[in-house]
Amino acid sequence: MGAGHAHPLYLDGTSPLHRLPAEVEIVCAVVFVFAVVATPREAFWAFAGYLAILIVIWRIAGIPIRWIGPRMLIELPFVTLALLLPFAEGGARVTVLGLSLSVAGLYAAWGILVKGTLGVLVSLTLAATTPARDLPLGLARLRVPAMLTTIVVLMLRYLDLLTAEVERMRTARLSRGDDPRTFRQIGATARGVGGLFVRSYERGERVHLAMLSRGFTGSVPTVGAPPATAALWRAGLVPAVCTVGICVTAWVLR
């Protein structure tokens, strides 16, 4: 119950990036990712440019590389897939260290790897500098439909609660001698998930009743920090403009 209980992906700080309203950061991150994805994969220098922009952002936000590193592990399954491509693809082949590799496969693997990695890095940067509580407000200001922001608000709140419930059920099962290493636990877990579904459904109804009692009319009101000024928009979108510039240049020089 300590005070430092924030989301594990959030890195507390006071940098200009942390103070930037969530809506600016969301737009910037989305534009960045789209620019990366749209860049032709043969333009190697462009990807180096994107990484350079990210490194500058990390310096400003005070995010150490060693903080980013472990959180990159989420990308591993995609890396595995990318590594298979040079072997599996057909077409022209080159021989590297005695291995016969497909040229098309190598390009495809490079594309997945570099675009995926940059995407994950951008998402991590967004998560590290935007408190989860500001996300719904940011989304609402970007004219995302009220229904969706309500769902985001409820998910942010109840996902933790659900995880805690799953954990308590598991502890209770283990306390009664269930062995986590055997396949028998799969059956018990499946039944637990069923029970959890029913309980969550009932909780959903109770939450709705409680919301109605406080005058809920269909949208969660958005109160919080003031919206971004034009100056903040201009400053905050600099990285996005740079990435779009790199992307366009890459296409022109192609």
Partner: protein, 264 residues
């Protein structure tokens, strides 16, 4: 004087035909503190949900501060009644859903059209009333049960209700959290309805009690009189906890009831 809450011949049956309330008559005066007692499944929560129009009586009428809640009541009427009657639900996790304590406290007032500095004031006052100002920017999920219960109370106080309805406020609280909540509740002088089967807590916080059993209102009177009648309690599956003794003399108001633990 207009009654704070007036129920006349209220009956309710769930859509599956199960009758939950039978011809309930109940009048609560402004400022009164009434405990609604009864065993599990007696219809206490169903009755509570009638007070702000979540459920509508199949027969009879519910009037809140002179405003009648009938089956065809307009949206505005229902809304006004929901502002007047604040319900604090039993599980704070059902009530608190916003990312921070302050945002959750603001949820109700914003729905009722409060904005700007008036809103900030409401949020601040409500959090101060339950002594949770220091936690306003925290995630409700990371508070203790006692703190979450107090925040849930603040979310309702922020709507400035005329009638405060509390569903089992003492459940899952440790003795200190229980006393702290009692301190807060005794300091609020709106009309109280305390739905509970925690009889000592009801005795401490209320002056009057009604007993509900299988949807019937079976007793109504000064709380110490009702609780001092073992035969009556036994008949409706209620009993005082072991070792608990009612105070010999009746203090005039709940405000005079000691909330600090007895010494010696």
């Amino acid at each position: 004087m207009t009654a704070a809450v007036h129920l006349e011949g209220v009956s309710f049956a769930y859509p599956d035909g199960r009758a939950a309330l039978h011809r309930i008559d109940l009048t609560v005066q402004p400022g009164e503190r009434v405990a609604v007692l009864g065993p599990n499944g007696a219809g206490k929560t169903t009755l509570m949900l009638h007070l702000n129009g979540i459920l509508t009586a199949t027969e009879g009428s519910v009037t809140v501060g002179g405003l009648e809640l009938s089956r065809g009541a307009s949206r505005d009427t229902v809304r006004e009644v929901r502002r007047r009657v604040g319900i604090v639900f039993q599980d704070p996790d059902d009530q608190l859903f916003m990312p921070t304590v302050a945002q959750d406290v603001a949820f109700g007032p914003v729905n009722f059209g409060i904005t700007g500095t008036a809103l900030d004031e409401r949020v601040h006052d409500a959090l101060a009333a339950v002594d949770m100002t220091a936690h306003s920017d925290r995630n409700p999920a990371h508070l203790s049960v006692g703190q979450r219960r107090r925040v849930a109370l603040a979310t309702v106080l922020a709507c400035a209700p005329d009638v405060l309805v509390l569903d089992e406020p003492s459940s899952n609280l440790d003795p200190v959290a229980r006393r702290e909540l009692a301190d807060v509740l005794l300091g609020i002088d709106t009309t109280h309805l305390l739905v509970t089967h925690d009889l000592p807590y009801a005795a401490q916080l209320c002056t009057r009690a009604v007993i509900l059993d299988e949807g019937h209102l079976v007793a109504d009177g000064p709380i110490l009189e009702l609780l001092g009648d073992p035969a009556l309690l036994a008949e409706y599956r209620l009993e005082l906890p072991w070792g608990f003794r009612l105070p010999a003399t009746d203090p005039h108001s709940p405000g005079e009831r000691s909330v600090t633990p007895p010494i010696g």
